[in-house]
Assembly symmetry: C2
Homo-oligomer: 242 residues x 2
């Protein structure tokens, strides 16, 4: 009945329904208008996510999402030779994997609103502190992710969106516009604080609205209770429900 909005991504998407998360805020923004479905897979890079693509978005489905966010890159950008290297995906392959995702979704439904989101910036100090809190002195001295490398992936994501003529949120750049972004938006140098979640929520609502999926312009699924006459409630439901 209602349109679906699917959030496809890694842990930053999987965790988006924690308290103050951008996914639950989005569900609240589209309350009574669209269903928000989370397809977030912590630790996944684009190479692994491709295995899921046709299962999560089956081409022969009778109902495709109205909109999908694709939010990968934080794991692809993990550095070779460091503790998270098994998640690393070369940047050319990352870009190509994203392209496969977009083309698959557009094949499922040419009308689908597809929005690419770049990885967030990395606070290398924050990552180091986090590693120490987990592993103590055994923590590797060298960072497993750098902000510079996350930026390389973010730029490829933005470039791809331009090439394909689809919408993008350059989260990597957007967050760094705010002073103190390192601690304000990131809880462990990579994942989002409630303030960081709010940035993603605002950006997604903005881009959706600039496209054609503005919650304000969408009808309620059923009448607002103030439209219901207590003495003859059936009138309010005649158009939609009788």
């Amino acid at each position: 009945m209602r349109p679906h909005i699917v959030l496809f991504g890694d842990s930053i998407t999987e965790q988006s329904f924690r308290s103050g998360g951008w996914g639950s805020s989005l569900a609240n923004s589209y309350s009574r208008k669209a269903d928000v479905l989370v397809r977030g897979y912590g630790g996944y890079n684009t190479r692994w996510a491709l295995f899921l693509l046709s299962h999560i978005f089956p081409p022969d489905s009778t109902k495709h999402p109205a909109a999908t966010t694709i939010f990968f890159g934080a794991n692809d950008a993990a550095l070779l030779g460091r503790t998270s290297e098994r998640q690393h995906v070369p940047v050319e392959e990352y870009k190509n994997n994203l392209k496969k995702m977009v083309l698959h979704l557009k094949e499922c439904s040419p009308a689908m609103l597809v929005v690419l989101i770049t990885p967030p910036p990395i606070d290398e100090e924050g990552r180091k502190d986090y590693a120490k809190s987990l592993y103590g002195d055994r923590a590797m001295k060298l960072p497993e992710r750098t902000n510079e490398m996350a930026g390389v992936y973010a730029r490829q994501c933005v470039e791809l969106a331009k090439d394909l003529g689809i919408h993008t949120i350059d989260l990597w750049s957007k967050m760094q516009e705010t002073e103190g972004w390192q601690k304000k938006f990131l809880s462990d140098g990579l994942h989002l604080t409630p303030e960081g979640n709010a940035v993603v929520h605002e950006e997604v609502v903005r881009v959706f609205s600039e496209a054609w999926l503005s919650a304000e312009d969408m009808p309620y699924d059923f009448p607002h209770h103030s439209e219901i006459n207590g003495n003859s409630p059936e009138e309010a439901f005649q158009q939609k429900c009788l």
Copy 2:
């Protein structure tokens, strides 16, 4: 692909995806295992909700929810002759309307886990303060809802669940076990604070788990990233995705 959990109710359900809401917490508890869909209609009583029933839960659907919460009564219990009387539904009709909902869902899918939730208790002082904040001295001196009357509706809800042999959450009683419940759990004498939302979340998770819908016992939809071998990722996906 994933089972659906549908939350059907009034404003306390509609608002359940606000920050700290019980709906988003539930979605997070069932992350990667079930989708939580909100069907909350602020201001609705059971009489009006019946108009929506077969639209939200079409009997001929190919996919019925695995579980549904039915959470009405706060508006039905609004008092006659007071400011919210248009929402009032006599308690016998309330009970009968709930019964129609349960029977409809069981007809859709006999295996569906249906959980009735009673209205929360009412903090009459809180309601009065809220009315004053809206209407100043024009606020009616007499409460439009009383805790006693909410309790009458809650007992009928509990009794119906017993009659039908289905699960129930007696929120009215549960919340009043805690000292200071009036301000601790209710923000305006009726709607839930984050602590009140946490009570509902815990109770729903408890009842779902006691039935058969325990998130811990449900499989992940796709492999956890730690099960993926970086050199041969296809192995991890063979069972589910190839």
